[in-house]
């Protein structure tokens, strides 16, 4: 096959930065939505939990309709599944298969790659929140409170879980990340006030569990959405500490290869 002379003549240049980040975010989102295991984690499990526990009285969720208790917890779970579990597993394997390495020599700067990952996580979360909100409303959910508090909680929760997820992906082997991220997901699902109220645990355990990022997020969302409370500063504070510690540790310890 012949190629016209001059076809490969050098004409280097980087695409504009916003376009690079946008394309990278779109690709990462497509990879996530195409991955069956990731969809199971981010879409199927939260939706099933909401439908199952919202329509069948398995766990005593206190006064009021079960869905009013469950919906905020499942929203917190959705954030954790995408920002922590999904991102940790995907990034761990990208590191293992040299994707991060290859992209590091492309015109996209490293911080641009991280920005794209964050954007992709946020896009996925918007889709999750839309889906779960529709399902919860169909189950009779009546949310309260200030939407700004909810957005702030979701954003800080995303930052906290992203830091922890990237810390894991950038330091452990991909297989270890896969196992550990799934285990943490399962433990926090049970012990983080998502579907089981924290007051079912012994009081000593409650104090510790209450400081987990998932508990802070589900408790904060619940106080706003179920009880119509004002800005939940305590929970926001816990999430902020996790975010700062997690992102700083990930920034310092993340290894690209």
């Amino acid at each position: 096959m012949t190629t016209a002379p001059g076809t490969y003549a050098p004409k280097p240049g980087a695409a504009p930065l916003p376009r690079m980040i946008g394309r990278q975010a779109a690709l990462e989102t497509r990879m996530l939505l195409r991955n069956g295991e990731q969809l199971l984690l981010t879409v199927v499990i939260p939706t099933l939990l909401l439908v199952l526990f919202g329509s069948v009285d398995i766990v005593d969720t206190g006064a009021g309709p079960a869905v009013d208790f469950l919906a905020p917890g499942v929203l917190a779970l959705a954030v954790m599944s995408t920002a922590f579990t999904g991102q940790a597993i995907a990034t761990g394997f990208e590191r293992r298969y040299g994707v991060l390495k290859r992209l590091a020599s492309s015109p996209l700067p490293r911080w641009g790659l991280m920005a794209a990952k964050t954007l992709s996580v946020l896009v996925t979360e918007v889709l999750q929140v839309l889906l779960l909100t529709v399902v919860a409303l169909a189950l009779g959910w009546s949310p309260h409170g200030d939407p700004l508090s909810v957005v702030l909680l979701l954003v800080l929760g995303t930052a906290a879980f992203s830091g922890l997820g990237l810390l894991m992906a950038g330091t452990l082997k991909a297989e270890a990340t896969l196992a550990a991220a799934n285990l943490v997901f399962l433990l926090l699902l049970v012990g983080g006030g998502v579907i089981v109220p924290l007051d079912r645990f012994p009081s000593g355990a409650q104090d510790v569990l209450g400081l987990l990022p998932i508990s802070a997020l589900s408790d904060g969302l619940r106080s706003v959405l179920q009880h119509g409370a004002g800005m939940p500063w305590g929970d926001l504070g816990v999430l902020a500490v996790w975010a700062v510690v997690g992102l700083a540790a990930a920034g310092a310890l993340f290894r690209w290869e």
Binding site: T3, A9, P12, G13, K101, P107
Partner: protein
């Protein structure tokens, strides 16, 4: 062509833990195709990855297109294309999807469709990267290295494990790149690849460059070559020897099988055939054995197996 070198490495040292991978290496690559040869563990990949900005030198300086690959990475990255030895692609991505993505990170990329067709990746269709054959994965990595229309391409063992057709396709692309003014730094284990493609060759061993030059220069250097022919038994070897230059030797090894050892060039071949003509000898099966780059490589780096 520009006269300034595309890659200039001075006294590069790189250690991993206690092990010295690169030990005071000097390498200058001019525009064109430069092949970096060396046994496993010689320091080829470390040297190339330092040029690509992946590794920070422990000491020494590295300049690529006049830039420091670490400190001036942002300016350098759009101008180079990198093909890693393996991987580099999302396991769930399709070949065309990944190539289009990398193209989209550049301002003036190549026509992705034409590149896919040229490298025979059109048949990959909707197959995800992890299900592509090894050869398809290699060709995709090559395509990703050139799609941004770089000035300089780094290819780390681009044809390792390829079938002959895919190898030819890769060679043809490298030749076209060269013709169009793209410089190429190529590491390889295949001597024929270096002989076919390279304007210059650097042989690395134990973290240093131990020989460099054009493939012809390296093959000529000190190596003796052989000319063999068969004819009537019992020819006058002494008379042949007189016709030959002083530093040649000639012998009848077995009846009718003659061997001339020395600097084999067109002149020597003409001398032997004209001597045959004068003596009414029909030399059938004339063969010339010139030293190949592989002989030179083994001579320089030894024949024992490396880890």
């Amino acid at each position: 062509m520009r006269s300034e070198p595309v890659v200039q490495v001075r006294s590069l040292v790189k250690r991993y833990g206690g092990k010295t991978a690169v030990d005071g290496l000097d390498l200058t690559a001019q525009a064109g195709v430069t092949a970096v040869l060396g046994p496993n563990g010689a320091g080829k990949t470390t040297t190339v990855e330092t040029c690509e900005g992946y590794r920070r030198p422990d000491s020494g300086t590295v300049r690529v297109l006049g830039l420091d690959p670490v400190a001036q990475s942002a300016a350098l990255r759009p101008r180079i294309g990198v093909m890693l030895q393996s991987g580099g692609v999302y396991s769930g991505a399709r070949a065309d999807e990944m190539l289009r993505h990398v193209a989209g990170l550049h301002a003036h990329p190549l026509d992705v469709g034409a590149l896919i067709e040229r490298l025979g990746l059109g048949s990959c269709g909707r197959t995800s990267y992890r299900r592509l054959s090894g050869g398809q994965q290699q060709r995709l990595a090559l395509a990703m290295a050139v799609v941004g229309r770089p000035e300089l391409v780094f290819l780390d063992e681009p044809t390792a494990g390829l079938d002959p057709q895919a190898r030819r396709a890769t060679w043809d692309l490298v030749r076209d790149l060269r013709t169009d003014g793209v410089s190429v730094i190529l590491t390889t284990h295949y001597m024929d690849e270096a002989e076919q493609l390279a304007d210059a060759v650097a042989i690395i061993d134990a973290g240093r460059v131990i020989a460099e030059g054009t493939p012809e220069e390296l093959c000529r250097g000190g190596a003796e070559n052989t000319l063999r022919f068969t004819g009537r038994p019992g020819l006058d070897v002494g008379s042949l020897l007189k016709a030959l230059p002083a530093d040649c030797s000639a012998a009848e090894l077995t009846p009718g099988a003659y061997r001339v050892v020395g600097k084999v060039d067109p002149q020597l071949l003409a001398t032997v055939t004209s001597w045959c003509a004068q003596h009414g000898v029909m030399p059938d099966r004339i063969s010339v054995e010139r030293h190949t780059l592989e002989d030179v490589f083994l001579e320089l780096t030894g024949k024992e197996l490396r880890s």
